[in-house]
Symmetry: C2
Subunit: 202 residues, 2 copies
C-alpha cells in the first residue's frame, strides 16, 4: 500500500517571503516536489512546457476550468494562472509530497477542493517588520506600500482557515520549522489509521 | 502574554520503548520537563520528594483523588501512582512544555481531563518486531510474552484516541520525529490564534 503524499499549501501576504522559504526548502530537502502551474501566457525564452509551466491556450484553460480541472485559478494581467488538479493528484497518489506556494485567495480555493491538504500561513515577526520589508525593497511608493499593507491586513483575517502559522523570522528557521510540520503531519493518526489497523488491530 | 506550554503524552504498549525515547529526548533537548508522579509507596534510598516522586500517604492520595487533583491515577502492587494536576498545570502556565510517559489507560484518563494535550502513540515497526523485543529481554517465559502481546493488541485498539503515531524503528529517529511533532504543534493555528488576532487582525 503506497501511502498518499502530502499537499502542502504555503501561503501568506505579499512580501512575507513565502517564495523564498519554498525555494530554500526544495534546495535543502528532497521530500517534496513543487507544483507546476498552468498558464495562458506565452512561454518566455528557456521555459519548458510541463516544467516551468503547463502552457495552455485560453480555450483549453477555460474548458479545464469548466471540467473542475483546477485546484485553484486566477486571472492576472489578462492571463489565466492555475494549479492543475490531475498533475498534483498523480504525484500525491505516487506517495510524493507536493508544495504549492500560493496567494491567500488561491489557498482558500484549494481548501474547498482538497481539505486534506496542509495549510500553512507565513507571517512576519510583526506588522512593523512587514512594512520594513516592503519599504526595504526601495522600489515602491508610499502609496503602493500602504495598499499592500492594507491588503495584508485583509488577508490575515483568513488565518483561521489554515492549520499552521509559520513565522518568517529568518529563512533558515522557517525552513526548519516547515520540515518539522511535514514530518509531524506524516505521523498524524488520521493519515495512518487504515495502515495501522491492518498491521496492528486486525 | 506567556504562551501556554504543551503537555505531551507519550504512550504505547509495554516493550515498545516509550521510556527510552522520553529519556533520550530529555537528554538531547531542553524544551520539555518530565512530569513528576505522585505515589504512596515508600521512598527508596536516594529518592527525593518532589524530584523522583511526590511521596504521599494513602490518605493524602485518596483525598487528592476525590478533589479531582490527578490527571490520571492507577493502583499497582497495592500502591497508588498518579500524575498531580497542579504541578503539571503550573509548568504549562509558565510556558514550559511537559512530557508525560504513561500507559495507555492512563493516557485515556488524561485525555478526558485535558484534551488540549498532544497524544502520541509509540508503535513498533511491526507486531513481529514487538515480539522479538519482548523475547530479546530473555527474562520472560513464553506464557508471559504471549500475555504481553495480547495486552498490546488490546491497547492498539485505542490508537484512534491519539493525535500522532510515532514509529520506534531506532531511538534516534523516534526522538527526532518527536521533536518535529513538538515544533509543529507550537505552530498549530488554534494554539496561536488569540495572539495572532491581537498582533495582526485587531
Amino acid at each position: 500500500m503506497t501511502k498518499k503524499g502530502l499537499l502542502l499549501v504555503v501561503s501568506g501576504p505579499s512580501g512575507v517571503g513565502k517564495g523564498t522559504i519554498c525555494k530554500e526548502y526544495l534546495s535543502k530537502y528532497d521530500d517534496c516536489a513543487l507544483s507546476v502551474s498552468a498558464t495562458t501566457r506565452a512561454p518566455r525564452e528557456g521555459e519548458v512546457d510541463g516544467v516551468s509551466y503547463f502552457f495552455l491556450s485560453h480555450d483549453e484553460f477555460r474548458k479545464k476550468i469548466d471540467a473542475g480541472g483546477f485546484l485553484e485559478h486566477a486571472v492576472f494581467c489578462d492571463n489565466y494562472y492555475g494549479t492543475p488538479k490531475d498533475a498534483v493528484m498523480e504525484k500525491l497518489d505516487e506517495g510524493k509530497n507536493v508544495i504549492l506556494e500560493i496567494e491567500v485567495q488561491g489557498a482558500l480555493q484549494v481548501r474547498s477542493h482538497y481539505p486534506e491538504a496542509v495549510f500553512v500561513f507565513v507571517i512576519p515577526p510583526s506588522m512593523e517588520e512587514l512594512e520594513n520589508r516592503l519599504r526595504g525593497r526601495g522600489t515602491e511608493t508610499d502609496d503602493v506600500i500602504a495598499k499592500r499593507l492594507q491588503r495584508a491586513k485583509a488577508e490575515f483575517k483568513y488565518i483561521d482557515k489554515y492549520n499552521y502559522t509559520l513565522t518568517n523570522d529568518t529563512v533558515e528557521n522557517a525552513v526548519c520549522v516547515l520540515h518539522s510540520i511535514i514530518e509531524a503531519e506524516k505521523c498524524v493518526m488520521a493519515r495512518n489509521y487504515e495502515y495501522l489497523k491492518e498491521e496492528f488491530i486486525k
